[in-house]
Symmetry: none
Subunit: 175 residues, 4 copies
């Protein structure tokens, strides 16, 4: 991966996250990255290919992020980390950008990519089971859905502060 390739990816990530995939032209990406437009196609073949490269990089990022939760043995910690995950993301500029893009892509392409969430879902189900919840699987689903809702607000609602809500949630789950 050359230096300019990285620049292109970074520029695309920023612009796709800000303006959406189809509203971002390759020429804008090139200008933002400070490279010629043709270079995008030499390295990524397509505008689509550029998107795929970003997504692929994202999956690596997501896996490492989830790994910490999935490998946790303390059930309370699993839940706490799941809740805090969204909080952490919202407080880091680069992470926020990255996750906003993930959701934007989902809405533009209408693919949820639930398989990526499966390990997290399993870990949560197991955690709720250990804690004696009556419907552990549904509890797990609900928590992930809450996360989706929080992500929506963080990305779209200007000035939304999620700390109060994540604190509230941690209290609720006693974690």
């Amino acid at each position: 991966m050359t230096e300019k390739q990285e620049k292109i990816l970074q520029a695309a990530l920023e612009l796709f996250a800000r303006d959406g995939f189809s509203s971002t032209s390759t020429s804008k990406v090139a200008a933002h990255a400070g490279v010629s437009e043709g270079l995008i196609f030499r390295h990524f073949k397509n505008k689509e290919g550029l998107l795929e490269a970003i997504i692929k990089e994202g999956e690596v990022k997501a896996r490492t992020l989830f790994a910490d939760i999935v490998l946790e043995s303390d059930p309370k910690e699993v839940i706490r980390k799941t809740i805090d995950m969204v909080l952490n993301i919202s407080s880091n500029r680069a992470d926020l950008e990255f996750w906003k893009l993930q959701y934007k892509i989902k809405w533009e392409t209408e693919k949820y990519g639930e398989h990526k969430m499966e390990p997290l879902h399993l870990a949560l189900t197991s955690a709720f089971t250990k804690l004696g919840y009556v419907s552990p699987e549904l509890e797990a689903s609900l928590l992930l859905i809450i996360n989706d809702g929080l992500a929506t607000r963080i990305a779209l609602q200007k000035g939304f502060k999620c700390e109060t809500l994540t604190s509230f949630l941690k209290e609720k789950y006693q974690v």
Copy 2:
């Protein structure tokens, strides 16, 4: 509103909901509506104007939908209806399309439009207060966030069935 105007709006709604705003060209809208492309501009001035018309129609729809909840006096009913709202939407093809568009627009324009939700938030806060919840406002926020999460899943996760989850929620809230 002439017949052709309605046709244009309907076509635009369908295409914007399916492919997104910026991925839908005015020529596609015209073709789908069976009218000339120029007519779109005569009636709605802009592509943007077309979108605004759709959003405006949406606000009316949303208001009538929310009215039933907001005017409810029984607090348990307020919560139940809020939960069921998303269920009802998911089971009606036209409604689903309409709401999908609303969320798609939110993600494309990054405007959440929280003011539309305010009456609902108030009604829920009041309901949770009446039921003696410790943090009624946060409970209200959480429920609306859950709704956002559910909407995300309904729109994006192929084959997602929300009945189990809405039942689970109603049980949780004992409504």
Copy 3:
């Protein structure tokens, strides 16, 4: 067919005949026709579509040209007219351009389009039969091949004068 449509066709005919299909850009065609480039695509869909439109117009032209020969009953006249056909073409600027294009396209697309020649071939075969030639079908083929060869020279050999050769041929065939 609007005025601008005709202009586009005419410009395309000229440029395709002069520079070849793939060496002629749609922007050049537009400039030569004095219209906006987009108009080409509104009327002909494609660069390919533009070519097809030209070819279609050509087939009509070719049919009327051949009709005069095919409907001739005097066998000697059939042969004479076939030979003179190429002479006539070479002496008319517009016709020359048109036929040059036909051959250029053949060489660019590698489709000979023999079906168009079939009626002529039949008429010639019949003529040579009536005149008592031993191998009338082969004679017909030969004459058409000579025509192809003459066309090649007329189009490509700067300063080639075909009158001497067509006179020579008419003498040979005693027509």
Copy 4:
């Protein structure tokens, strides 16, 4: 001439012959030859230079091909060999490709290159003179034009069999 240079020339010959000069990109040539694109420019300076190299190679090939005819003393043999030349070409895959390219280039660049044909024309004129033909020069021209016509058919008319016609010609000329 290094090995890679030959590979490039061979690849270019094939692609130019198949798709034409301007429809063949240097990147396609490089890919087909299995070399880097830059190498083409190091060795041949230009895309044009590549074409010239091919043409130059062609002239050598053509000269050796013509030499056998030109040096022939028996007039009947001169004519027979001229007729058979096109037959031989059509039966050899590599030769066919090579000659197709020659004609394609002619039609793309509109340069007939009649000087290459001059020795052949002279040899034929002399042969027809020796055989007592009335218009030996015109006969020579005609035969070469027939060859052009045959070449056109061989290259463009799928399934064209030239044996019957060359036999017919040899009979006609009693060679």
